[in-house]
Symmetry: C2
Subunit: 259 residues, 2 copies
DNA sequence: CCGTTTGGTTCCATTATTTGAAACTTAGTC
DNA sequence: GACTAAGTTTCAAATAATGGAACCAAACGG
């Protein structure tokens, strides 16, 4: 995972450093960060220092390791509450979840990747933080494709440039061309499938969540396994899922932008 | 809520802007931010642009309003998972919660404030994001005082400087001197009380979570109301709560810093 | 016990970025 | 169609970031 030298000046670079620490997934030493950083020693050092006294990072003085700071948790609480679809969508997901008795995902786009902001697992109730906040690829997941299909040409190009096109399974679309063809179909149809493209045995139907103006603000999916069901059965739920998406869109529009 | 012009260069200023948007708690227009910002128009404008490109903020193009971006949610997921005590503490909180049948709070220190990272409500299971991530004052909460009591002189001074000493109730400690006296007692005793200092009728017993080296990494509290119980009854649980804190500390030390 | 390596921190002249007043461009009013 | 408010761009001056190199401290090896 390389920091792709963003062109956003000092702030962008500092945020890259933040991502590096986040990417490590465990406390990291200065030297480790230095090893796969594009920055020279002193520069990286200063960034770490700045981020640390801003509370975005935390330095364990005993071990000399850096971890993400708690200020992030606070900011994220606000982000989740005010900017994600999750709080708005919650009641609608509850209903859909009860009706379908399948796993439900609510996702948004983040820098070309899929960010899951809520999840319902028919079996047991949600473990919020543990599940929400996870990221996944866009080109081979139902929610990902549903969102990609409705991006502007410009945004779509930017997103495609960020896809790895790794071939997870035999049915993964592994080139931009194949993906674009699929996206056209999705746009015509109004919903997307995941035909075991990311994980064998896992299938889903996904619909975009669109504003009245036609901008994608998220996606919603009903997921199952090939053992329990099949695509046709999922497709039968399409209208129901679209309806939920529409409700969420309407609510989001009136709630997040009052007046 | 004023951005207190931090001395951390460009990055610090950008993060201040981020806080401003977070602080608003709703989508905000450029002009609103400009109104209570110390930055001149062009500067603020460029920061917003940078943060937006970085996914830390989101610009609703229809309305021209800024909200926190989803990248924060992703970062926070990592922060919560790797840097907060919550995942480590979870099983121990489960046990304590079952035993006491009272509300449990797990908190950490963030820039002189108390950040709640997990909460158990005897009645219903946790709503993670909805509860975790909230912040509160340090000088008048059980967990806050428990942590303050074990800070180094330097860190304590810095934390005290950030307290408002607002008098929420008649029993709130409203000066640094009174607070410091209380902290001495807490250090001798090993645990802290909240004697309706923040909210009338709400009392708690709180213990610090300390590393073997004696550094505070968090605090844990059992909260109740004056209607249901009293301080003496809570104090009777002190040893039990300390034990849980010790378990969490031990686990945190071996788990978060493997090898 | 001392020379050496490794990991982390500080210096400081150079360089590049940020800064912000002012000019400009929309979009909205009356 | 002049007037206002809100947002965007420009550009020379001011400032902050940069990074090579020196420095320090602790751990290591002989």
């Amino acid at each position: 995972m390389e920091a792709q030298s963003n062109s956003d000046g000092t702030v962008g670079k500092a945020l890259d450093v933040l991502d590096m620490v986040a990417g490590a997934g465990r406390p990291v030493r200065f030297s480790e960060l230095l090893a796969d950083s594009v920055f020279p020693k002193a520069t990286l050092y200063r960034f770490l220092q700045t981020l640390t006294n801003q509370g975005m990072l935390m330095l364990d003085p005993d071990r000399g390791t850096y971890t993400l700071g708690v200020r992030l948790v606070r900011l994220a609480h606000a982000a989740w509450a005010q900017s994600s679809l999750a709080p708005v969508a919650r009641p609608y997901l509850d209903v859909l979840s009860a009706e379908t008795a399948e796993t439900i995902h609510l996702a948004q786009m983040d820098q070309g990747q899929v960010l899951y902001v809520d999840k319902r697992n028919a079996a047991r109730p949600v473990e919020m933080f543990a599940q929400a906040g996870k990221v996944g690829p866009a080109y081979c997941t139902g929610v990902g494709k549903a969102m990609l299909a409705y991006l502007s040409d410009e945004d779509l190009q930017a997103a495609i440039d960020r896809q790895s096109f790794h071939r997870f399974t035999p049915s993964t679309y592994d080139t931009p061309a194949k993906l674009r063809a699929e996206l056209r179909l999705i746009r015509e149809r109004g919903y997307a499938f995941d035909r075991e493209e990311h994980e064998p045995g896992i299938i889903c139907i996904a619909v975009p969540i669109l504003t009245r103006a036609g901008r994608v603000i998220g996606a919603l999916s009903v997921t199952s396994t090939t053992q329990r069901t099949n695509l046709a059965a999922l497709e039968a739920q399409a209208e129901r899922v679209k309806e939920t998406a529409a409700q969420i869109a309407a609510e989001a529009e009136s709630w997040r932008f009052p007046q």
